[in-house]
Symmetry: D4
Subunit: 153 residues, 8 copies
């Protein structure tokens, strides 16, 4: 598989450093992986629509314009990904993450979920369609090492 | 459109009577609509896998077997639906519902979300890909009357 | 082809009686054709969104809610159609009609345009992807008779 | 997303300098974007068919041969695009532009419309399926900067 | 498979009675098969375009209008077919038939060719993608009896 | 889901009565299910090709003609199925069954495997893509009752 | 479109030098085009199957093995092509060429036919689905120059 | 076809050196081919799931976790392949290999089987959908030389 680059999209929680840990692990293992993600600055992902296309009086449309703009990025990157990692943190609803998992599932695209055990029951359908359930970013890196290089941890 | 039957899948919350309200509205308007839904008995949708295919010691696999079995029903019905209605109630994580919305979106299938205003911000990406956002079951019925019969409320 | 029903979607102009003429022609020829169309009451197709899902202060969002709701109907019916007829009248921009033609073309679905000669040059790309260019509703009916029954006019 | 190149197709109006403005903005921001467009010399896009494949007596077929030849270019580039920008100018019918929007929509490809407010109502269905509505080329550039680099304006 | 109806499209030669023979065989075996075909009146399939949409001075466009109109019927019926039978007679070029075989092949739709041995070499690529090569209409009927009812001849 | 009929294809082993057991269970539960299967008379499924299209001297081509003819039936029915059941018996290679499972998986179509525990390790990849692993035909019936009627065993 | 390479597949006749002429024209115009074609040594394309996978006693299977092997190359290259050119020469049946045209048409891939006027009527359906009909290789080159560079001849 | 790289996935038996032989042949012929394969260390492909994502008490779930993880690699590489080679050795059930063949077939992706004559009858359906049946790795190399370079052995 000389030369093959694997595109991995990192979906979900934006309030912890899980993306950095995966990024560091990928770099340490020298994997031919290109990581991508949504815009992870919370405020920007909320305000981008009105900042670019003009203010809205209603919060609903303020959000709507942002969601549509963010969607251009996220849909394109998920459709291009070989693998999606979907992170559910301890807090927040994180419906985005579940939406992305469903989107990947419908495209027949494999995904790995990453979440603590406490969410297991609530996420059972999302996990049921996943290729694996990880508890820590390092497991995602180990999975990538195995998938791409065939090396065991 | 004489004879056309519209398949509508009702995804999400199973702890209130929103499905019954839509069902009654559809019957009252005499719409050519076939409603479908996941199995809505919570306990059954949790235990179906082990009840049929054998017990599991680990809760995770107990859930997993149920999720995979439920998936046969839900995926088939979503793929067959002309329209999906996705309900987010006041409580619970309801990641299933968001997963189904993402699944529908990736298939290019229209969906209407149904949720209170308090979820607007958390659901902005899910709403962003929706065809409409409803606050009450009656609005879904009115939408069906309009879509199918062209009648205004 | 005993029993086959042909679904024909009639897209475009809503200010003349071309749909009625095709409908009468289909009935006169006793064709196994189900005709469908967008909601053709102009005011309703403008106001349906706010009438059902709530008022908007901005005209833009008033229109937007209607467009999304109308889209549930029109997309479903175009995707189900065996043939789309796209009518461009003498007046108005009728960008909808051209949008529907592009939508049909991308799905590999055949369509016939129906418009006066004066639009020929402006519609050359739309006509270029069409299966035929008709000048009068009767020609559409004759085409259906030929396609379905193999009878010449 | 190191190395990712975004393909952006610029559809529609050929009588103003909006493509140049976007092109300059993209260059100024040093974005990894490849812009493409139809042939924008009006006369050539009208006459290419007969110039290459032989004269036609009828204007209709003169146009037809051009449309089919132009279609090879435009369809290929739209299908390859990550994003389509669809420009409607102040004048002309511009059915091509609406056709391209419908084509993109059916492919599930995101597009941004670019037009003055005066067209809002007539374009409501086309805008309804769009990811954003821009009023000036600079907004399209800002959107690209945000989508690709995650930078706010 | 109670109730299943098999759609079989009969493509190709229009100068012998092979379609009638298959039709009689299907009726004799009481098979749940709906047969369909192009318009088989040679003159009509040549002239339908101009008869409906207006005369052409050039033979090329006369033919073109007919081909596009016939295409609405043939494409729709091939796409709907469960099986395509492609007949190459002793005479004529019959490029249509080979075109239909390629069309079916690209859709992943099974087809059976029906032709004398003398064409074997010239048809090797077309036969190579076929599910079977028949020499007589009766063999096609026997194949349908086997496929649908599991009965041997 | 009034009126919905579920198509279930029964793939694999032809030397035991598992299909009859499922059929009886479906009848006893009065399920709206249409069962289909390959031709299960071993000798016929081997000889059908030459019996219809003419003898072959080489065993390889004798088999080949049968395989291609059987493929028309099996591919069509798998593609039409809502659910595939794939049975691996105690004996024989049964590569067909695994092939059908892979075929279903690539189409995104859910399948249930049915096999004794002794095959678990050898079938791990096939089971890994399955929606459930059953040990007895009755479990398949119970699954259908649950999927279709939402009733627990 | 800096950097874009256009893949063009040259299908059909192998007894004249039309491929060389197009190749020279492409080189002379310095077009970013990669041309591909079937194996054009007639004897090799007939004998490749048996030369590699073993002799056959029957001519039919001799041909069959070649056709299947050639198919790996031709299908892959057609599916990858941006444009297919299909050449019908003065002689031979050339059912391959028509098959390739049908294959391209079903994939929604544009193709240009290249043939003398004498074949116009027999090829009317094949031409009807084509983007252009050329009479000489130079016209194909001119079309490529226009499509890719926007330059008129 | 200057520059085109062919992706070839080598599926199946992992207990003989057939992959090395093909690899050496490809190198010797200097073919522009990238070979890929599943992880071929048997123990690792069994244990990878639990080694990375945590131990399981039940063998079934031990296997399951491995199968799902391996599936990320194998599905991605098969979907990316231009050609799949499927090897069935003298021993073992090798249901994986048949599954991969079915998966490739459903995607319309060509594959070559590689197995001794003794498996011919049991593999007749798998061979029936194959582009060729090889007996030795060298034949696969010769096929690649022919497909890519047009050279006969």
């Amino acid at each position: 598989m000389s030369g093959r680059v694997w595109n991995v999209y990192l979906s979900g929680e934006i309030h912890s450093d899980w993306r950095e840990k995966i990024s560091q692990g990928v770099a340490a293992a020298d994997l031919p992986v290109v990581l991508s993600s949504p815009v992870t600055v919370h405020k920007d992902s909320d305000d981008c629509g009105v900042a670019i296309f003009g203010r809205e009086k209603e919060t609903f449309w303020h959000d709507h314009k942002a969601a549509k703009l963010n969607g251009i990025r996220t849909r394109t990157l998920i459709e291009e990904a070989d693998l999606v990692v979907v992170r559910f943190g301890e807090k927040y609803k994180q419906w985005n993450a579940a939406f992305d998992a469903g989107y990947a599932a419908a495209l027949g695209k494999p995904y790995i979920t990453l979440h603590p055990e406490e969410h297991d029951h609530a996420l059972k359908e999302v996990d049921g369609a996943a290729s694996a359930v990880a508890r820590a970013p390092n497991q995602v890196v180990q999975a990538l090492v195995y998938i791409i290089q065939g090396k065991m941890p």
